[in-house]
Symmetry: C2
Subunit: 392 residues, 2 copies
């Protein structure tokens, strides 16, 4: 009798307590939208006007606006990096890193996180209206690059009266933005912390993105971008789910899959049933089907394109020339098991900076989580970030 009570009540209490603690530990926050009527001149030569940027802030801006940290998100991210929205149970995507007393300490710093243009979480993207028309851009949306994303972020910061940053921090595509900031606006931030990223997207990563691009384009329900808003809320777009499976392969690694799934088979799926599944297959299905209901497929195409075209050297004579422009202190954090952006790609930046006598440090974290480690294994790198931010 007693054990039964224990088994049923204790986990419930534990869960409620944990939920409560999460709520206390995580700030209650909201996403803001900033509207801009000035033109945003894009790298392609095209113009975005008007445009809007979704953003969140955590902590307090100090008097001389000298405690600002910008957070940049990855492919599927949003401005919601930390804290809890009203009624929400799951905190922002880097909540374990950002908050009061955490590595990115919101008692000290004013943290801004924005949604990149092209995305579908509040900033202007392909499903927004092509002003002055009352219909969405769809495939007429201009191609966006990482350079464009940071230009838009800089506009937002200006509008908030912020003209200098303490630090810019991001992983994966967020790391691309951080590095692009360092190159394009050398005096803008004191410190750059880039995780699990590269100096230019390599064909291996482009090939993974190709699966998504083709799967989305060829899905009849995509209708060449002419689907209705919210068309995939009930039944996600298969093309996006399929592309996302390829994505998930690149976010994990052979070792992480071995330890996470092994060759385990889903219970009740027959081994000799054609569509019986291994655990790794169930994981892929579960994660990607949900994702394909939430994420806009046009935004996915545009952001993937931005990742593909990322190349720090574009617009400069060479990668060396681009890197040479950097004045910030650069911290590069890679993960041993990263099969999307391999550690040697970030080491390449570090070596270049070292040869130039620039201020850089490189960390290769021993991790089994693959590319995802920058979102998962916070405890393996949060002290590095804390120390780098606290150093004068």
């Amino acid at each position: 009798m007693r054990t039964t009570i224990k088994k049923t009540i204790f986990p419930t209490i534990f869960y409620l307590l944990k939920y409560k603690l999460d709520k206390i530990h995580s700030m209650k926050i909201e996403t803001n939208i900033a509207h801009f009527t000035t033109p945003l001149y894009l790298e392609s030569g095209r113009i975005l006007e008007p445009y809007k940027i979704a953003y969140e802030t955590y902590g307090e801006l100090n008097k001389d606006a000298s405690n600002v940290i910008l957070i940049c998100h990855a492919l599927s991210g949003s401005a919601h990096a930390a804290g809890l929205h009203e009624g929400e149970r799951k905190a922002g995507w880097w909540d374990r890193l950002i908050g009061d007393g955490k590595a990115i300490d919101t008692t000290k710093y004013f943290v801004i996180s924005t949604n990149v243009i092209g995305s579908c979480f509040g900033s202007t993207g392909p499903m927004d209206n092509d002003y002055p028309k009352l219909t969405p851009f769809r495939l007429k949306f201009p191609v966006i690059t990482i350079k464009d994303m940071i230009k838009a972020q800089k506009q937002l910061l200006s509008s908030l009266g912020i003209h200098h940053l303490k630090a810019i921090i991001g992983g994966s595509m967020g790391g691309m933005q951080a590095l692009q900031f360092a190159v394009d606006y050398p005096n803008f931030a004191d410190k750059i912390i880039a995780l699990a990223t590269t100096y230019a997207t390599q064909p291996w990563a482009i090939a993974f993105n190709k699966v998504a691009m083709e799967a989305i384009r060829r899905d009849p329900r995509f209708q060449n971008g002419n689907y209705e808003k919210g068309a995939f809320r009930e039944k996600g777009l298969d093309g996006l789910a399929i592309g996302r499976i390829a994505g998930h392969i690149s976010y994990l690694s052979p070792d992480s899959m071995n330890s996470k799934f092994g060759r385990n088979y889903v219970n009740n799926d027959g081994l000799f049933e054609l569509f019986g599944r291994y655990e790794v297959e169930r994981y892929m299905e579960y994660n990607t089907n949900n994702f394909s209901k939430i994420f806009d497929p046009l935004s996915y195409l545009y952001i993937v394109k931005a990742i593909n075209t990322f190349n720090l050297s574009r617009g400069y004579d060479s990668l060396h020339e681009a890197i040479l422009r950097i004045k910030a202190e650069v911290t590069l954090i890679s993960f041993k098991g990263d099969y999307l952006f391999f550690p040697k790609e970030m080491e390449h930046i570090h070596r270049m900076m070292q040869r130039n006598g620039q201020n850089s440090s490189y960390y290769e974290i021993d991790s089994n989580y693959g590319h995802d480690a920058f979102l998962v294994e916070i405890e393996k790198f949060d002290t590095i970030i804390k120390d780098k931010l606290n150093m004068l």
Copy 2:
């Protein structure tokens, strides 16, 4: 004037000469079909009856049938491993390895190459009639395993009066068959040569296959397997093409893609066009679109399933017990850049055999071609095969 002539005529002559030489160097061969009316008892408990096996032979069988080598193909392969079919310009998939005076020397050996059951190149597969019905099996085709494939091959060999083999050689899924032969029928072959393969398919490879399985299943034109025969001859099945892109990622490697494509952009594709392409993207499109017209999507699902379920230990107490059964001399050839079946997987077999005092040797070929190396970089391992075959 002279240079113009040179430029136009010389390549033509060179090409004709090369074509001629290819024709002379490659045997003229045909694919045979063997029909079996006896039941094939499958690992699933189901029965295939009747069934047929497509096969080719190269060289002459000696009097005591002691010079036979069996060749096993990979996922998309066929019985056509060497020589030229009538009117054909491109020789079989391992033609550089198999032929008169080549590593697998057809002046010495009688070489047999079969199409695996489940495939779509002559052996019984899902689009064959579900006897006695006059309609294809489609999704009612039984799940086939590597064990089943080799059982069928053994039946074919028996019917040809061949009860012992000099060697069994295969790469990738062909290597799985070779190893499965060594375990299931320890006295059947003297030598086993397995390339670019594993002892059990790992979740990393299963995940790549998952892209193909989902992309095919969710393609509306697949119609849950109820498409008409030849339905994709004109316009290939998108789902298969998309799945094949994921496949090609796993057949290459980051390094091979870097040296093959780099970040080169297709001429005339605009960098700021959403669907403008990098060279790596063009490669993926070209190879996969053609493939999706030729290969049957149901066969693809069934063969991928056979690869997923491959596990040398199934049916035995452990991998150790399975390996311990091997009596043949085993040669394991892996490739450094293989990102589908990593070298350490074959090394694992070798170490086990060494600990058991069994006869094995392991080679890790320095290659930049990824998994594809076993089909491409013949010159890097053909002498190993030649030496192993010629050794008493």
